[in-house]
Amino acid sequence: MSAAPPDAASDGPVTGAGDPPPAGPPPIEVRGLVKRYGELTAVGGVDLTVRTGDVYGYLGPNGAGKTTSLRMMLGLIRPTAGTVRLFGRDPMESVRALEGVAGFVEAPTFYPYLNARRNLEMLAAYDGGGANERIDQALETVELTGRQRDRVGGFSHGMRQRLGIAAALLRDPKLLLLDEPATGLDPAGMRDMRLLIHRLAGQGMTVLLSSHLLGEIEDVCNRVAIVRSGKIVYEGDIAALKRGAGTRYWLSTTDDDRALSVCRAQPGIDDVRVESGRISFTADESAVGGLSQALVESGALIHAMAPQTVTLEDLFFSYTEGDGPIEAGGAGSAGPAPPGQPASAAR
């Protein structure tokens, strides 16, 4: 794919163009979304809000209901209950609700007997509004210009994914919904896909990215919803999610018994434990400085003291396999956070 500009290729989540979000309905507003197939509840009451400029990660294990939710958001499946609004419009009422919206669910699909350009020309004709004039640019963006005359039937999975992005870009979207865009790609393809999403988000596009690839979400998203068995168990900022998990430190000294007493007596140092022969505690940064000084004064010299950072992966597993949010280095300690609230609010 085209080389991304330096700012777009930088590490860390993208937060949109940085402009204040315009007034008006949010790009995606989902309330009480339910889909049942007979006895099976595929989606069991999802609430989420994607704000303008968000790069929003929709995280969950396979079978959690992510794709079904996305299909309902795109108007492909009728919800059993609940509402979806895209910029305030209901996609089940009219396809006009998809104006300014593009994306794909699962693997993007095309007519295998037509070449890439013909496929895009057809979709552009179905879009109208000058979409045909964006074909060259879209092909260039996903680096398929040289293969545009090849039949899609001969394309690799990665090329189809890229063509799916090109097809989405024809609509000049303000909101892009991508379902597992990096699944099945080789490492280079995954990197290129991340860079592309970075770049699109950097241009001000709101993106909803469904994935079970945690690194992908952590790398590009600023907000996240974690879905488990068809229900949202967390929705909010990734940073808040991590902050809410607290910061736990571990400590090793020349005299751990004395250090343990000092820690327990030190203001701002909480939940002091001995784990695996090491002292651990939670604290904020200002209290850690005071503890260092107190330890030195007590004669327990510090060998090592380091924060145990919690990863999105830790949090994901605690939400999807455990009982809910965890502390850094600790086990799950509380029930799931209510949708729309960061983990800290639920604890």
Partner: protein, 272 residues
């Protein structure tokens, strides 16, 4: 703004790039040619025992009319079903419904464009077959006058006109077959099942027509309506079978296409 016309044009474009299109149209060309070849090679000029059999050697215009008679059994229903049975099901097979449903066209527009394209294909196949029959028959037996079913002689130009109007009348039951094909395509979401199913429905209706004791159903069977064009070949023209074909075929076609429409516009696209 995109609309039904946009879908229609692209459906025709897609048909031009699919092998099954050429299988059906190829059959529509080859069958009359083979039929004329068989006339040319036969040793005994027996009476055929069917309408226009005696005229096969005297006028090429008899060839398309005889093909219309025999094509109703399975050839034209099969050619029609090849596209009508596939046009929705192939979207399921390719997983492309989700691709086209998330563009700027309403589902009814997609349905209408596809139904029109399937009908256009059937019309093309019938007229192609008829035209090849006229040309090949005329090369074999000459472009000569034709005896109508009432025994009057019809000039060659008038006969040609009647052949093409007969083809038009033949499209009435063909349209009903298109509707059944669209219904099965939408319902089964499987091309093979829809194509075979459409043909089976056509054959079963014919079977009902030959079962003893069910003769009273004959006027209401779809298979009977394939003979409505013969009313044109009488002097004066007998419009009653044509009018009967129009409403009987509507009874088959309208519920079928209505069902296909409802399934298509209301369906969940959960796979692909």
């Amino acid at each position: 703004m995109p609309g039904v016309g946009t879908v229609y044009r692209w459906e025709l474009f897609k048909l031009r790039h699919q092998k099954r299109t050429y299988i059906g149209l190829g059959a529509a060309i080859i069958v009359p040619v083979l039929f004329v070849l068989a006339i040319h090679l036969r040793h005994h000029h027996d009476r055929g025992g069917f309408a226009f059999a005696d005229y096969l050697d005297r006028s090429g215009l008899a060839v398309p009319l005889v093909i219309l008679l025999f094509g109703a059994v399975w050839m034209f229903p099969l050619i029609t079903a090849l596209v009508a049975g596939d046009i929705f099901a192939s979207e399921d097979h390719n997983g492309t419904l989700k691709t086209i449903f998330t563009r700027s066209l309403e589902r009814w527009q997609l349905f209408a464009g596809k139904a029109l394209a399937a009908t256009t294909y059937a019309v093309t196949a019938i007229f192609l077959c008829g035209t090849v029959g006229v040309v090949a028959g005329s090369l074999q037996s000459g472009f000569n006058s034709l005896q109508s079913l009432s025994g009057t002689i019809v000039s060659a130009p008038k006969g040609l006109e009647l052949v093409y109007v007969s083809l038009l009348i033949y499209l009435i039951p063909i349209a009903a077959i298109v509707c059944i094909g669209l219904l099965l395509s939408s319902l089964t979401r499987n091309s093979a099942a829809a194509v075979v199913g459409t043909l089976m429905v056509s054959l079963l209706i014919q079977l009902i027509g030959v079962l003893p004791g069910l003769g009273s159903l004959q006027p209401y069977l779809l298979s009977t309506q394939f003979n409505a064009w013969q009313g044109l070949l009488r002097t004066p023209i007998d419009w009653s079978p044509i009018i009967q074909a129009a409403w009987v075929c509507a009874l088959y076609g309208i519920p079928a296409i209505g069902g296909a429409f409802l399934i298509f516009v209301r369906r969940d696209v959960a796979g692909g």
